[in-house]
């Protein structure tokens, strides 16, 4: 009994030594980074990164300490062949229970306090940020609006939008959703915030280095969640000013999202040699009302497109043969509820697909004979 009793502290110290040794190996391994987040690219991210390191080291030490105890106990006290003796029947020890309740309480209390402090840094919102950006999420793209600069960008399936911001300046992001929950996440910022319909979330960041960083939607938002990507490009103030000037000069790089006037009137125009054929298509609940349209060959088409999805942008693009085929026509993207008439040029006979550029799952077949 006494021999074994002496064995406990020895075992524990061996375990602790092993844990520390392994930790040192892990920490000193130059160039090797295990379970490390990408280097933080914002001031807020650096605070989180520091906190992550603290939690990580505490976690690793606890893991190796406890795991060493498990392994040591399992090996040291394994049953030898032919050993039928009953080990000492120890029912418990109140001192030990208090110790291994109190120590974790202290550890989690410390972690809680430093987490709270870091949270105050990360979550702080400035009253007068240098730049404001309104981010709107919708299935399955992003729209970035610079209200003070009058610049709007919107992503398309083959062209993810790029949020351009100046380095070393406080940028305030306002998050809103037009439909379902989304998540605005930039791994290099070590930060995300949900984008929730009916609720506006605001956060600040101050980028500390230039570069291009990937961003994702992290809150599952339906069919093409995995395609809801964006990039953040951090540039110097001069480059940013130049970019703004260029963006303001070119009328919106991506299709505009300004609500279309209800356009039944301005449709009649474009009378050519051949009278256009009138077709109608309605988008509702992220779906077209029909999957089959047909039109005569060689005549232009006046396609009345009714978007009944409040706040959700749709359009009609016509592509050869299949939804991924060569594009022969792309209508303007506009949010509902609104109606627009697209003047589709005359098409040669054949099979076409019509598809919503924003929602590639909305498709149908257009037969031209």
């Amino acid at each position: 009994m006494t021999r074994i009793a002496k064995g406990i502290p020895r075992g524990a110290s061996i375990a602790a030594l092993a844990a520390i040794a392994m930790l040192l190996v892990a920490a000193c391994g130059t160039g090797v980074s295990v379970l490390q987040p990408p280097p933080a690219a914002t001031e807020q991210g650096k605070a989180t990164e520091w906190l992550y390191q603290v939690v990580f080291i505490v976690g690793v030490v606890i893991f190796f300490f406890v795991e060493a105890l498990i392994v040591y106990a399992a090996i040291r006290y394994r049953r030898r062949k032919g050993d039928d003796s009953l080990p000492p029947q120890i029912h418990g020890n109140n001192v030990l229970e208090v110790i291994w309740t109190a120590i974790p309480v202290v550890i989690v209390a410390v972690l809680f306090v430093i987490s709270w402090q870091t949270l105050n840094t990360v979550d702080a919102v400035s009253a007068n940020p240098k730049l404001r950006i309104d981010v709107t999420g919708f299935q399955w793209q992003w729209q970035f609006t610079y209200p003070d600069q009058g610049v709007t960008l919107i992503g398309l399936p083959d062209k993810e939008p790029e949020l351009v911001v100046p380095v070393n300046e406080t940028v305030q992001v306002k998050l809103e959703s037009r439909d379902v929950n989304h998540g605005f996440y930039v791994p290099a910022f070590l930060f995300k915030r949900d984008v929730i319909p009916g609720k506006t979330n605001v956060f600040d960041f101050k980028a500390t280095e230039t570069g291009v960083f990937d961003g994702h939607c992290t809150q599952f938002c339906g069919l093409l969640h995995s395609k809801m990507l964006f990039k953040v490009r951090v540039v110097t103030q001069q480059d940013f000013d130049a970019w703004v000037a260029q963006a303001q000069a070119t009328p919106t790089p991506a299709p505009s999202l300004t609500p279309a006037p209800s356009a039944s009137g301005d449709a009649g125009g474009g009378g050519g040699a051949v009278q256009p054929v009138a077709l109608q298509l309605t988008a509702q609940n992220i779906a077209y009302d029909t999957s089959e349209l047909s039109a005569p060959a060689g005549a232009p088409i006046a396609l009345t497109f009714v978007n009944n999805d409040n706040g959700i942008p749709h359009d009609v693009a016509i592509r050869k043969d299949s939804p991924t085929g060569e594009e022969v026509f792309a209508g303007e993207i506009f949010p509902g509820v609104a109606t627009k008439v697209y003047d589709v040029p005359a098409l040669p006979a054949g099979t076409y697909a019509f598809v919503c550029t924003v929602h590639p799952n909305m498709t149908g077949t257009l037969t031209v004979q």
Partner: protein, 543 residues
């Protein structure tokens, strides 16, 4: 101890399929629970393999986004609601009345109803696959995505109905357990002599009885939103998207403890037996279990840190606090093994696997309690790693440990130890190969629930490793199926008490008679069978 042989006439009076379909015997219902849950484990496992196959490389190779979203949604729904929860309820059903020396559950017919609701619910949920697509909003079914506007398919409605049925089954089961534990204990089986598994089932049942109805109400509100123009979760009509998360997680966080506490109970039964020592700190264990149950109800919003609409420090603090009773349990398990005489049976190996995996699952969970760190890892593969370390590395390893431990009691034959160890080794390696790399993917920024990722993101190798690991996990189930098959046909006869157990189920025959006990040993501690084997301990008989 002499083996009592049942007289064939009474045992075989009513047998066959009809008997299994109409039985109210808790042991048969328990076995039905285990069998049905295991079938759903295979279904959920196949769905998981499909998901992993698609993620092995960037690009969409085998399925479109629509199928992928259905698969991961149904994988989680099946695994959580039709496998883990019923599997543990199955153990409870089989073992709890035996452990407390009762002839059956308090309400045998309600017990049968609880079980039969489950396969019905499972079939209803699965029907979506053949009726135009199963639910595809993730098992959390966040609204407004789950509203009819964005998810018009009937699959989501079937999912809701199935889940309400499962919830009803759980509530009835929970009430049954509580009444059984409080009212049906044998003389001498005081509350502080209950085996720890019974305590964990007790606390779990409280969580089920008080938590599950909140989920039912949430699902009903969602159903009304979807089908009758309700506006609960529809911001466009004055509803609130965050409200869904509040009511959903108010149940679904305690549900995590519903899925782990009985597993901890199983572990707490197996370690003492194979260490030949009593459980270290029995009362500390009971209090820790109760503390986890109580705290479990005040941490629901730690799933919602990134919504910007919860009071963060409150939930952060409560979440950190849960680590304390969990740590107490871990140290008590280790202290139980300390100075013991540990036998590496298959059951014990799975439990040792549990300790290691659950340790990781506890530590990587604490990362999320730290709010800023959660901002960095929430909804990434880190979380996928965390839940699988807890629910697979934790609960599933404990489930297999429990199956190896109680199989002899259920069927009178032991499972093959060699095949068991083979299964453990493959499963342990496969599991870690699958889920450890997900930590790295998570901190690198790979979001969960994506069907595809950019080949330039640098996630290719780790995803391939994870997929290879998942195949190993799949393969590891084969030796088990073979093991059950050969053992039932020609397994080693077990006898009444093959492991030198502590608790009352080892005092009866294997399998036990319909009424469980011919006679009970005297109950003077939490280990009546141990006391009987080694002589009753009394104040005078201290070692």
């Amino acid at each position: 101890m002499a083996t009592t042989v049942l007289t064939p006439s009474t045992a075989r009076a009513r047998s066959g399929l009809y008997d299994w379909l109409t039985t109210t015997d808790h042991k048969k219902i328990g076995i039905l629970y285990l069998a049905s849950s295991f079938l759903f484990f295979l279904v959920g496992g196949i769905l998981a393999l499909l998901v992993r196959a698609e993620l092995a490389q960037p690009g969409l190779q085998y399925m479109g986004e629509s199928a992928y979203n259905q698969f991961f949604t149904m994988h989680a729904s099946v695994m959580l609601f039709l496998f883990v929860i019923p599997m543990l309820a199955g153990f409870g059903n089989y073992v709890v009345p035996l452990m407390i020396g009762a002839p059956d559950m308090a309400f045998p017919r309600i017990n049968a109803l609880s079980f039969w609701l489950l396969p019905l619910a499972g079939v209803i949920m699965m029907l979506g696959f053949v009726l135009g697509g199963a639910a595809a909003e993730g098992w959390t079914s966040y609204s407004p995505l789950a509203n009819s506007k964005y998810s018009p398919g009937v699959g989501t409605d079937l999912w809701i109905v199935g889940l309400i049925l499962i919830g009803t089954s759980s509530i009835l089961g929970g009430i049954n357990f509580l009444v059984t534990i409080f009212k049906m204990r044998a003389p001498g089986m005081t509350m502080f002599r209950l085996p720890i598994l019974v305590w964990t089932v007790l606390v779990t049942s409280v969580l089920v009885v008080l938590g599950t109805p909140v989920l039912t109400s949430a699902l009903i509100m969602l159903f009304i939103d979807r089908n009758y123009g309700g506006a609960f979760f529809d911001p466009a009509s004055g509803g609130s998207a965050v409200l869904w998360q509040n009511v959903f997680w108010f149940y679904s966080h305690p549900a995590v403890y519903i899925m782990i506490l009985p597993a901890m109970g199983i572990v707490s039964e197996i370690i003492p037996v194979f260490s030949r020592k009593p459980l270290f700190g029995y009362k500390a264990f009971v209090f820790a279990t109760a503390a986890i149950g109580a705290l479990g109800f005040s941490v629901w919003a730690h799933h919602m840190f990134t919504t910007g609409s919860v009071y963060l420090p409150f939930f952060s603090f409560m979440t950190f606090l849960i680590a304390v009773p969990t740590g107490v349990k871990m140290f008590n398990w280790i202290a139980t093994m300390w100075k013991g005489s540990i036998q590496f049976s298959s059951a014990m190996l799975f439990v040792l696997g549990f300790l290691t995996m659950f340790l990781i699952g506890g530590i990587n969970g604490a990362f999320s309690a730290s709010v800023p760190v959660d901002f960095a890892i929430h909804d990434t593969y880190w979380i996928v790693a965390h839940i699988h370390y807890v629910l697979f590395g934790g609960s599933v390893f404990a489930v297999f440990g429990g199956l190896f431990y109680w199989f002899p009691k259920m069927f009178g034959v032991k499972l093959n130890e060699g095949l068991g160890k083979l299964q453990f080794v493959i499963m342990f390696i496969g599991f870690n190969l699958t889920f450890f790399p997900m930590h790295e993917l998570g901190v690198a920024g790979m979001p969960r629930r994506i069907a595809d990722y950019s080949p330039m993101a640098g996630w290719n190798d780790l995803n391939l490793v994870a997929t290879i690991g998942s195949i190993l996990v799949g393969v590891s189930v084969l030796p088990f199926l073979w093991n059950v098959f050969v053992s039932l046909r020609s397994g080693e006869r077990a006898g009444d008490d093959p492991w030198e157990g502590n608790t009352l189920e080892w005092a009866t025959t294997s399998p036990p008679p319909p009424y469980n006990f011919d006679r009970l040993p005297e109950i003077r501690s939490e280990r009546p069978v141990f006391d009987q084997r080694h002589g009753l301990p009394g104040p005078a008989a201290g070692h």
